[in-house]
Symmetry: C2
Subunit: 151 residues, 2 copies
């Protein structure tokens, strides 16, 4: 439960990286995968998804192309990002797929799970990417020496 997968990590890395660039400046997938030593294909894919499935990024084609943040990260929630990367969210498949759950009918926790799912979704909707990635601290202007908070 509650484990972040690689794609989401790569997306967050890319977004944080891009958020520290000058407005209008482009960032390529290769640039990100080089900077963080992440696999190129997977990195490129999540950036494509953020551009394609959502308007978080804008893609510019061809040589000298790349991506650019186009949405205000304060207005994009973690829930939004997760749905872009992973598709529709649910604690349990049966909540929004026509679920071939073999124990349906006898299951006694549909209501609790539905409730928990709702609360979790609200939690993730309430947290913006800006709040998460930029944090309460003002951006340090210099791009170096990231300070780790708790660990």
């Amino acid at each position: 439960m509650n484990k972040i997968n690689r794609k989401l990590e790569y997306a967050l890395m890319a977004l944080k990286y891009m958020s520290q660039k000058m407005p209008g400046e482009l960032t390529t997938a290769k640039e990100v995968s080089d900077a963080f030593h992440t696999p190129f294909d997977a990195t490129a894919r999540v950036m494509q998804q953020m551009a394609q499935k959502s308007g978080i990024l804008r893609a510019e084609y061809g040589a000298n192309g790349g991506y650019q943040i186009t949405k205000d990260l304060a207005k994009v929630s973690i829930h939004d990002l997760v749905e872009v990367i992973e598709g529709p969210t649910a604690l349990v498949k049966c909540l929004h797929k026509e679920a071939p759950c073999e124990i349906q009918g006898t299951c006694n926790i549909v209501s609790p799970i539905t409730d928990l799912n709702h609360r979790l979704t609200e939690f993730y909707k309430s947290l913006s990417l800006k709040e998460l990635l930029v944090g309460r601290v003002a951006m340090p202007a210099k791009k170096s020496t990231e300070v780790v908070a708790h660990g």
Copy 2:
């Protein structure tokens, strides 16, 4: 991200089922796996874990044995239960394992992930099993016709 696994489902089913019994009455793993058509071994295992790793349940050995809820579910959080079933929690391994994360050093989201992990943990700590399983509505006294909340 945020998917509930089978073990946790079985644990929640068992707990809800047991919470509707008379105080002092025992429940066997077989009884639960029969009631919900869940695999016996897996069902038995989570009940063992709840008895062994935590004091949520008490086990009585031998024929006529079984389990019994011994903790006030209002005082056991979802976070507690998850840690009993899955062990230490973290959004990402590197947060509490000596992490052989290959990109450590270049990773720029340790701080955001740590922060999110903390918020999530607080969220799960704030929600008790009683609130989740019994809900705001008073127990219906009759054990039948479970009402589904949202869908």
